[in-house]
């Protein structure tokens, strides 16, 4: 059996067990003759628990017991044994039980292992996906915008007949290369994911669009867990007099933009403070503000805040590329993005998004 019962003789001293399994002898020493054993000397952990046990035994009531919780002891063969010690009183005698942990130890261990590995893995995955998609978007944007410019110029050359006889041939070569590159960009996108295929300057419907307020709500719901973990309040405040918050934008990308800004705000907000997403109407625009009570953005960083690879002082999170992504995305829709200090301290990032044409 996997339980050893030891009868207490004196503080730290126990009557040797009549028989003991191999692991007991390996950890606590072979019990010889009838002289008392001192298991607390062989295991520092048990020694620590016996201090609690002594206090307990001095005042214990029948049917009460205390447990040491699981502890792990090394075996001479290099392996390990998980154990649990229990102090109780039986017929007036203090008893120490040493045994394998109560609940099915292996099952508990496996469950913990799985849950923990998964939760770490999940966090890493989310971070990776975000990083990759934002990076991909930026690369594609940076390649395709100038490329479109090159293509346009080449087309003009031909159309305007600016070409010397040899020039026409060269223009054709240049044009072929441009088309090749554009195809390549499409292929890169394709290789990554079907969903990001639409990343190159999006064609959006100017006459209808997603509801900015529901996008904000969608994002705050998704981030409420993170906010709770760091004890930050998170809420949306809308101007109640506004009927229609629709904007001319692409819904999933708008949510990603808001996600970036709110995620950042939560990271910088001190525990106990609130992150607020304010949505209101301003003439032809819907304005959204993401406010936190964090340290704000240092004046020296502001001019380059929305540029590529600017990240505060090796800042929390990957704000740098994130904000760049936000700017180029919003600019694609004809909107704008900016930063203000909050009068009462903290940061206020704003988005101005065009309303759909009515």
């Amino acid at each position: 059996m996997d339980v050893v019962l030891l009868e207490r003789i004196d503080a730290g001293q126990f009557r040797p067990p009549t028989s003991a399994p191999a692991w007991f002898n390996a950890v606590f020493g072979e019990a010889t003759s009838l002289s008392p054993i001192q298991p607390g000397r062989r295991s520092l952990f048990l020694g620590h628990f016996l201090e609690d046990a002594e206090v307990f035994w001095s005042a214990a009531q029948p049917e009460q017991w205390i447990s040491s919780g699981t502890f792990n002891e090394r075996l001479p063969d290099g392996g390990e044994k998980a154990l649990e010690a229990i102090a109780l009183v039986a017929s007036g005698t203090p008893i120490l039980l040493i045994k394998s942990p109560t609940t099915d130890h292996e099952t508990v261990r496996d469950l913990l292992q799985k849950s923990r590995s998964q939760s770490i893995e999940y966090g890493r995955m989310i971070k990776e996906i975000n990083k990759r998609e934002v990076l991909l978007h930026c690369i594609v944007h940076d390649l395709s915008t100038p490329l479109a410019g090159v293509k346009g110029s080449l087309e003009l050359m031909k159309a305007d007949d600016l070409l010397l006889p040899d020039g026409a041939r060269l223009q054709q070569i240049g044009m072929n290369q441009v088309l090749k590159m554009q195809n390549m960009i499409q292929e890169i996108l394709h290789a990554f994911k079907a969903e990001v295929k639409g990343l190159v300057p999006t064609v959006i419907d100017r006459d209808a669009g997603p509801d900015a307020l529901s996008c904000a709500r969608e994002v705050t719901t998704a981030l409420s867990g993170l906010a709770r973990d760091v004890a930050v309040g998170l809420r949306v405040e809308e101007d109640a007099s506004v009927q229609d918050f629709s904007v001319s934008a692409d819904q999933s990308r708008l949510e990603r933009v808001i996600f970036n800004l709110v995620d950042n705000a939560i990271r910088f907000a001190p525990p106990g403070s609130d992150v607020i997403v304010k949505v209101r109407s301003d003439g032809e625009w819907i304005e959204m503000r993401i406010e936190d009570a964090g340290p704000g953005v240092e004046p020296s960083l502001r001019p380059r805040l929305f540029q590529r690879f600017e990240q505060g002082d090796s800042g929390k999170g990957s704000a740098g590329l994130g904000l760049y992504f936000c700017r180029i995305t919003v600019a694609d829709w004809g909107g704008s993005i900016g930063y203000d200090d909050r009068p009462q301290g903290g940061a206020s990032f704003w988005l101005k998004l065009p309303k759909p044409r009515t």
């Binding site: 620590h48 502890f71 998980a82 261990r109 292992q113 923990r116 590995s117 760091v230 929390k316 999170g317």
Partner: protein, 168 residues
Amino acid sequence: MIQKKICMLGTSGVGKTSLVERFVNDSFSEKYLTTVGVRLSNKIVEIGEQAIELVLWDLNGEDKFQRVSTSYLRGASAYFLVIDGSRPATEETALVLHRRTRATIGDVPFIILLNKSDLSNEWEVSQEMLDRYDSNDWVARRTSARTGEGVQSAFQEIAQLALTSTLS
């Protein structure tokens, strides 16, 4: 010989067991084997002329699945708060454990370990975090159980702290 009990505190997967393994056996494993319950290890260090036996209490990680029992803290001369520098959210749990430890055993010296410093691409320790430690007069060190960076010196430093705190 003087014995000093040192606790390893932090959320799961930050590298508590790995740091102890690196320090005691100079080894490292990439594989994650979560610690259930407590595991004690010891190693002798020398502070000046004096040899001290460090008894390292590698405790289970505190997370939504399990808490660290305060009964394990009694008698600690110092403790490490271990944070995974690639997962800034692990700081929160370290601070919770710090508050609980202080409430249980009082003002015992501690060192913050920003572990996994080898993951430079993933590193997310901000200046703001470091400034906050500074302004609290907290000692924080970068370590990597994988490469060994900063590990020996951190344990040496905590031995020193453990010694002086109980002398006074």
